[in-house]
Amino acid sequence: MYRGGYTGRMAWIDLTKKETRIAATDPKLTRLYMGGAGFGVKLLYDLVQPGTDPLGPSNVLVFAPGPLTGTSAPCSSRITVTGRSPLTGVVGMATSGGEFPAEMKLAGFDIIVIQGQASDPVYLVLEKGEVSFRSAERIWGTNTTDCQLFIKEELHNHNFRVACIGQAGEQQSLCSCIINERRAMGRKGLGAVMGAKRLKAIAVRGDGELEIVDPPRFNAERRELLARFKAHPTLYSEFGRHGTSALVDLTSEMGIFPARNYAGTGLFTPTDQIGYEVQAKDIIRRNPCRKCPVACSQVRVAQSGDYIGVLTEGPEFETSWAFGGATGVTDLSAIYLADRLCDEYGLDTITVGATIAFAMELFERDILTIDETDGLELRFGNHKAMIELIHRIAHRRSFGEVLADGALRASQQIGRGSERYVMHVKGLELPGYDVRAAKAQGLNYATAFTGGDHNRGYAFQEIFGVPDPIQVDRFIPDGKAELAMWNQVMEVALCDCPTFCSFMISEGLLRETEQGMSQELTEQKIGTVSEMVSAATAIEFSPSELILLGERVNTLARCFNLREGFSRKDDYLPVRLSEEPIPAGPSEGYLTSRAEQDGLLNEYYEVYGYDQRGVPTRERLRRLSLESVADDLEALGLDPE
């Protein structure tokens, strides 16, 4: 029995020596960083020196659930994994749900830190507060489904939950991710970090229990939260039924479904072929994360198309976009197959789809020839070529070798002006919202500490029209710097540290108040998370401390990136978005000019307490209990004001 939201234990795992040291979770760490993303960013900053090779033994992988993970809080089985991203060079952080997060916590760990590099393939077994090493020789080369199955069989226990890499991670493809069950700790190439460490998998089995310190306080808040879920007009009826798939249609109606590598937004809106009502016919069951009453996650089987009969868990909206909109493919069964293949190979669907879309544009523009693509007719809409390329990327075969490290690196190999067509920020391919007509979402792409990432501060106010904390016009930049910061801070403080599913921010996690982003109103809005974490842990995380936590983690992550040489110049959107207006549809004519971006960045740095280079001021760092970081920046010649 673990009391108070934390197991009190963390594991330091050295793969080089095949040794584990179990230590007490540092109370100072929990006080200032709470869990999840907070633990990840703080340990990354402390452990990974500037210039560390992301694929070398000195990079780390920090797996961290939060104090609510494994409790009865709804939608709380989440985990973050953090390391230096080999794809971007900045903070690489990915989150996932399912069963693994709660199971790891109940196996007795608040954090596992993986360091070093094994001499031969291994996997880890975490159970009853102990860590053991096992050979992964025989499963090196397997896909993620077979790997998970093999491990459960070898351990004679199908209750183990496994996070693992497929062939793509083994090949150190920077498009790779880490898969647990059929969920992805996606983007940023963290699968390649595992592959470089020769760590095939982590198996966890949790038979411990977490005791809440103040059950009446916890349960009162939990009941209130569930009541808000129930009262939500469409949470169960629409989101529970369709998951994120409805975004294909909604973003198309808004004119922000980025088609054909962002060149054809508004010109290509295939909702009749791949929209959510078509996808709904294929749903055979739901597969919720543990303790989730919403169950947005669906399993689908293609009822028609060239790949009839293919089954996949998903596809999420981003996947439908990456393999549908971005590539111009309209055969839904091909999107299902692409999704399934990526899960099996351990590939990130957004990065792979966006990279293939980039290559397709080069082919259409005659920058790439059929000789270079090894015979693949890489035209938009050619789903056979898309599927073939996924196989080749996973195995680094022929033209797949060029694309296996994402679009930016591919362009560096190809040259001939191809950089213009890479849709990325800091090397991370952009997701499926055309932010030329969604300004807060765009500023978040530009400034998110992980690169062009929608998950670090999703502007649900613009995408869903939800008036919380304020109602906004997505087309105009005014006020969006403050909103982007609010979203980034809340993502970390309410979801990625405690942990809660990010979807909940727009679905009931916030208490209803009048509109506004003032400190006072924000504190009222986030009372539920404050109450639940405090009741679970007996550490009072007041609403104002939650806000500081969000600011601290975002700022420390920015300082990690500054230390790696990233700066204001890396906080801009790709040139297409500032020079080419959206060509058609409801958002026709919009772009995000360089001047507009400059204005937004100036404001954004100001609201965060950074100078105009994007460097946090000493005073700001001091207020966030990050004084020593100011000295680090000064030593690098960044001299915080």
């Binding site: 629409e238 369709h242 947005c296 008036p467 990010s502 958002s587």
Partner: protein
């Protein structure tokens, strides 16, 4: 004048089609259009007056724009306008 209505979710089910073209008098407001829709399809309740953005269960867009950035329900429609009625979705 003609206004195009794009329907999703239960509105689509009620109307029986993704897209319908409605012939409405000049100067028709959004409110007028939605009332017409409710009258023609009694099974739909759009909750026009609920005041959550526009209404609690639906997101209504005119040419891709949220109506609260226009004149809300009082927005006067013009020939060729596209009105989208989408179940309020969240997530992302």
């Amino acid at each position: 004048m003609k206004v195009k209505l794009r329907c999703f979710g239960e509105v689509r089910t009620a109307v029986g089609s993704r897209e319908i073209i409605l012939e409405v008098p000049e100067q028709t407001t959004l409110h007028g259009l939605l009332r017409l829709l409710e009258t023609d399809n009694p099974q739909i309740s759009l909750g026009v007056f609920e005041g959550y953005g526009f209404c609690k269960r639906f997101r209504v867009l005119i040419n891709g724009r949220d109506t609260f950035t226009l004149q809300g329900t009082d927005t006067t429609l013009v020939n060729g306008d596209i009105v989208t009625i989408f179940p309020l979705i969240v997530g992302g």
